[in-house]
């Protein structure tokens, strides 16, 4: 059924960045989110330059659980450490971690997904089985083994371990899109024009998935902001000297903290919430600008 007709709709309509911009204009929440987030990230990264981490993480037992007040603007935690400072450094760390994980998983996922989707056939089959296998591995066990075996457990190792398990989702998504994209005629055209397979993947297929990938990565990023929270709760999070939002939130597993010393965990939770919400709203707007059907106008 080939005789589909061509529509000239594209012409004259907003495209690319313009669409994104329009979508943001339409969606005030997304716009606000975007501005707040940019402002917040800038603030955190600049402010953290002025904080001496060693001084910050110094324990003052007698200031344990100081409520918000003059000495500690947002109170202190169970070690008498300033919450505000930890929030700033923690946010920076959490953003960095989320970003790093998102980029690493994104990169692996995209490369693997593109290769699967483009070549199809047995290459695809084998890699997909490997991905299946990854899904069956209990990540918790793996992480615990790593945490206990790796001699120097740090932010870097944490990022690498988490990435190990999170790339498969992206890979699957990219694969399915690459599969359909690779069937398009411009890929066939490139083949007949003598371009090699990897060049086609890199120069032809990948750029066409870029907007989708940006959306996917944005939403992944939102998901990764609070990623170490649960692990911190189980005691396999970051080293205690590394301030992170997840660690602050996980203090809430102590009922007393949850109920009485809300300033320890609540601001961090709200920050995570805020960032996830903001990024999600941004991601939604981006998604709409990619997906014609969901567009607002």
């Amino acid at each position: 059924m080939r005789r589909k007709k061509k529509r000239y709709r594209k012409k004259g309509r907003a495209r690319g960045m313009q669409v994104v911009f329009r979508e943001f204009q339409k969606d005030r929440i997304a716009m606000t989110s975007f501005m707040l987030l940019v402002f917040f990230i800038l603030f955190v990264f600049i402010a953290s330059l002025f904080i001496d981490q060693e001084q910050l993480m110094r324990i003052n037992l007698y200031d344990r659980y100081s409520p918000p007040g003059e000495k500690y603007l947002l109170g202190a935690d169970q070690g008498g450490k300033d919450i505000l400072g930890q929030l700033i450094i923690g946010a920076r760390n959490s953003i960095f971690i989320a970003l790093a994980i998102t980029l690493i998983t994104g990169l692996i996922g995209i490369v693997v997904g593109l290769i699967c989707g483009y070549f199809g056939g047995w290459v695809d089959y084998i890699i997909m089985r490997i991905i299946d296998f990854f899904v069956t591995i209990p990540s918790l066990l793996f992480i615990i083994v790593f945490v206990t075996l790796v001699p120097k457990y740090s932010v870097t190792t944490f990022i690498l371990i988490m990435s190990l398990f999170l790339w498969t989702g992206t890979a699957r998504l990219v694969r399915s899109k690459a599969l359909s994209e690779s069937k398009r005629d411009y890929v066939s055209a490139s083949k007949t024009l003598g371009t090699g397979d990897f060049a086609i993947i890199r120069r032809e297929v990948a750029p066409n998935l870029s907007s989708l990938l940006i959306v996917e990565m944005t939403l992944n990023f939102a998901g990764n902001v609070g990623i170490e929270t649960g692990l911190s709760y189980l005691g396999f999070g970051l080293p205690p000297t590394t301030p992170s939002l997840g660690t602050l939130v996980s203090y809430a597993n102590n009922p007393a903290v949850l109920q009485q010393y809300w300033w320890v965990w609540l601001p961090a939770s709200l920050l995570i919430l805020f960032m996830m919400l903001a990024i999600n709203y941004i991601g939604q707007a981006l998604r709409r600008s990619v997906d014609v059907k969901q567009r607002l106008g």
């Binding site: 059924m1 005789r3 589909k4 007709k5 061509k6 529509r7 000239y8 709709r9 012409k11 004259g12 309509r13 907003a14 329009r22 106008g297």
Partner: protein, 332 residues
């Protein structure tokens, strides 16, 4: 009495916060027993016109004004519930791509039956019988089997037959067929067109046939309207239009068709491209910029419909001054 009368219909889409009319002041009538063909370039507003007749546009991104008189009633003023009684029962529609137009998860039989459920008093058993009867009517050899199948199990021609069966199931007065054969092969196209024509003879329904294929028009239509950029620019009975096209666009269109029985070396080309909805010229003759060699004066400032014979109408006066460019250039 006219079966359907459309008066000054405007259909606008919202693009970047403004409405742009894709159908821009269209008026026409449809009579009983008539096949009215609407032809025109891609994007000229044919589908928009068709779908707005049964009010398939909704939401805040579409604006429809004007009158669509069906009998005494203006369809644009009816409530959704009232419209539901008209859609399918009185006015039915056939779409271009029968694969996507059928619900992939529903059995063929159920999809045909659905219309019957809402518009007839038939019992379940009667409905099922009618479904088989309809399938037979559209030339499906094994209706029982087909009724139980899913759309993807049928060939393109079969699917389009099913679409037709759905459309005629409640014996509608009007059938709107939006490019019913564009997705099909020549041989199947011929079968489907013949089928439509026969069904029309039986039921006496009026058919609005939308296409851009002049061949299909030649085979099917009683009367033809030519659309360009949201407007109707020429209207005539099929014989007259084919023997004596008037509007420059119509004439150019005929000229760019490869003729089976002529061995012309070169085909005619209409210069320029169809403007997009936003860039549509909204005043003067909309076709003028594609025939730049015709002097400005030839066009009307506010083009009107001119009656040039009993049932032949043309928009704008430019037709009088039109000649093909090479007629002038190669004025040997």
């Amino acid at each position: 009495m006219d079966l359907l009368a459309v008066r000054n219909l405007h259909v606008g889409f919202r693009i970047n916060d403004a409405f742009y009319d894709a159908v821009d002041g269209v008026s026409f009538t449809l009579k009983n027993n008539e096949i009215l063909a609407i032809v025109g370039e891609s994007g000229c507003g044919k589908s928009t016109l068709a779908t707005s007749i049964i009010r398939l546009h909704h939401g805040r991104n579409v604006r429809v004004t004007g009158e669509i008189l069906y009998g005494e009633r203006n369809l644009l003023e009816l409530s959704e519930e009232e419209m539901d009684h008209i859609r399918g029962a009185e006015i039915a529609m056939i779409f271009q791509d029968p694969l996507s137009a059928l619900n992939p998860l529903m059995r063929i039989g159920d999809q045909i039956e659905e219309a019957l459920t809402y518009h007839t008093e038939l019992s379940k058993v009667e409905r099922e019988e009618r479904v088989l009867q309809l399938l037979k009517q559209v030339g499906i050899h094994r209706p029982e089997q087909t009724a139980r199948q899913f759309p993807h199990q049928l060939s393109g021609g079969m699917r389009q037959r099913v679409m037709i069966a759905i459309a005629i199931s409640c014996k509608p007065k009007i059938i709107i067929a939006d490019e019913p054969t564009t997705a099909l092969d020549v041989t199947i196209q011929a079968q489907i067109l013949d089928l439509l024509k026969e069904l029309q003879k039986e039921t006496g329904a009026g058919i609005i046939l939308i296409t851009h294929d002049l061949g299909v028009v030649a085979e099917m239509a009683d009367r033809v309207m030519v659309m360009y950029a949201g407007e109707i620019i020429e209207e005539a009975p099929v014989q007259k239009l084919f023997s004596n096209p008037r509007h420059p666009y119509t004439r150019l269109l005929f000229h760019s068709m490869p003729q089976l029985h002529s061995t012309k070396k070169r085909l005619h080309v209409i210069e320029g491209i169809v403007p997009s909805l936003i860039n549509l010229p909204r005043s003067g003759c909309r076709f003028s910029h594609r025939i730049p060699w015709i002097p400005k004066e030839a066009h009307e400032e506010q083009p009107k419909f001119h009656k040039i014979s009993k049932d032949h109408f043309v928009k704008c006066t430019c037709w009088k001054y039109f000649r093909f460019r090479d007629e002038k250039g190669e004025a040997d």
